[in-house]
Amino acid sequence: MTVWHVEAPVWTAYAAGTLDPAAEASVETHVAGCAECRAAARAYAAPAPGVWEAVQATITRPRLPRPLRPLRRLGIPEGDLVVIGASDAITVSWAVAVAGALASVLATTLAGVRQELAFLLLVPLVPVLSVVAAFDATDSLREVAEPTPVSKLRVALLRASAALAIAVPATAAIGFVVPGLGSLTSVWLLPSLGLVLAALVLHTWLDAWVAAGVVSAVWVGVVSSVHSELDTVTAQLLFAALAAALAVVLVLRTTTLKLGGAR
């Protein structure tokens, strides 16, 4: 039996991948049957520093919620998606929007002669509940989030836009699914915008669901007393003005010293 072992220059070339295929195959066949060369091989194996660290880094890195992943390819900054997707809040928000829309369809269909009242009571609140759900999960971190330098207005608008991206089409669809709603299919839009902004303003003082509760109670009061007037031009202009005023209040609340969460 010929006793030979792989020599140092051959190992170096093998490790660097510069041996010709025949010599490479010969080294591999030999090593398979030679314990001494298998032991020697370890000295030439390329060092693998940081491999475990890299593996650990990959498995600990949080992944964006599945529905948000495609948005990265649309060029939305990853940091914005982390804010929107924190604690899976946006998935809950979208589920609330769809469930709210389905419940509204059901209630409006079953309401009979009171269809108009049921529609006006429920539908404008669907976007409000969806937006509030987007804030609820991270509400407990206010005390930690408040002293961070990020623009609170930007965070509020990011979350609200992400929620409304599903809530508005879902709500608008109700008008097309339920027959006989006539002009009501567009009447809800301006009041709903006002209610969403009111909830966002109140959320600078209150917990998300408390803000939603207050807004809903006020809306139920408004609809019960003047629901037949809501589709008039005057009422619609009034809601537009209210929405504009609330938008200004929201900007002030998120930029002046009287901070949100300062309870």
Binding site: Q56, A57, I59, T60, R61, P62, P77, E78, G79, V82, V83, A86, S87, D88, A89, A137, T138, S140, L141, E143, V144, A145, E146, P147, T148, P149, V150, S151, V155, T255, T256, L257, K258, L259, G261, A262
Partner: protein, 288 residues
């Protein structure tokens, strides 16, 4: 020397209650301990300085930026502050890494590569390097406390404000956190009930009581207020603030008239604190 942070005539009222009377404090570099009973105004002071709470009156500056001034200056100040509140309620379902990643985004770490490296750095600092992928709900109380501290360390702030960071930690974890905090930032302000932490860690002690600063000085200066006033002997001192029988069978007395056969012992920070509190209660009793 220009202070890292300063409060000038800062006060805070909640309706009819005054949580903090007009107070002026300059914070230089070093570790500053804030001592005081529950309801003394410690948390209010820390929240005011952290910008989580607006003051009723006065002016707060951090690194030359006026927190109580315009929005831009406040944002600039916030970039230099790390704050751990007394209690952090973590959102459901978040992992330790996910929580820190979210806070890092709020602290303007935009690029994911650098941000994830920073998250790993602070996780390792608080000995949670191997817990990143765990759900926060599955971490122990001590681990959650350290995670709450870790978020304040993101971005290596100049001013670190920690509200009772050692609560719920075992002695080993406390010692390790002390080691971390002593070099974590230019200025570290911690409130605590653990007088040993103050003795072991702080260059300066501020004692707050009833919304007012009752003592502000170095640890040796605080100890000096109790020198010669702590005794040990077979019987308790007459009129002592606190007495207790030690393991040796002798009675340790803080304050009061020493019994004839007792001897003076070196005071601890706790002794000095208890004496300060007793004097405070006495003054209140006389004036009310």
């Amino acid at each position: 020397m220009t202070p890292v942070a300063s409060l000038t005539d800062v006060s805070k009222r909640y309706g009819a209650t005054t949580a903090l009377h007009p107070t002026s404090i300059d914070l230089q570099t070093g570790v500053i301990g804030l001592l005081g009973p529950n309801g003394a105004g410690k948390t209010t002071l820390l929240r005011l300085l952290s910008t989580a709470l607006p003051p009723s009156t006065g002016r707060i500056e951090v690194s030359g930026q006026e927190v109580t001034g315009g929005h831009a200056e406040r944002v600039e100040a916030r970039r230099r502050i790390g704050y751990t509140p007394q209690e952090v309620v973590f959102p459901r379902g978040m992992t330790a890494f996910g929580f820190l990643d979210y806070i890092a985004v709020l602290k303007e770490w935009k690029g994911s590569g650098a941000r994830h490296a920073e998250v790993r750095r602070v996780l390792a600092l608080v000995d949670l390097g191997d817990r990143g992928s765990m759900k926060v709900a599955r971490l122990s109380g001590g681990q959650r406390r350290r995670l709450a501290v870790a978020q304040a360390l993101i971005g290596a702030p100049e001013l670190l404000i920690l509200d009772e960071p050692t609560t719920g930690l075992d002695p080993e974890q406390r010692a390790s956190l002390r080691g971390l905090l002593s070099g974590a930032a230019d200025t570290v302000l911690i409130s605590t009930h653990q007088t040993e932490d103050v003795a072991a860690l702080c260059d300066r002690v501020i004692v707050l009581d009833g919304g007012r600063v009752r003592f502000d000085g170095s640890v040796p200066e605080l100890l000096a207020t109790a020198t010669g006033r702590v005794h040990i002997g077979p019987t308790a001192s007459d009129g002592a603030v606190q007495t207790w029988k030690t393991g040796t069978g002798l009675v340790r007395s803080v304050g009061g008239q020493p019994a004839p056969d007792s001897s003076v012992v070196d005071p601890s920070v706790e002794d000095a604190y208890l004496l300060l509190r007793a004097e405070q209660r006495f003054t209140e009793g006389v004036t009310s």
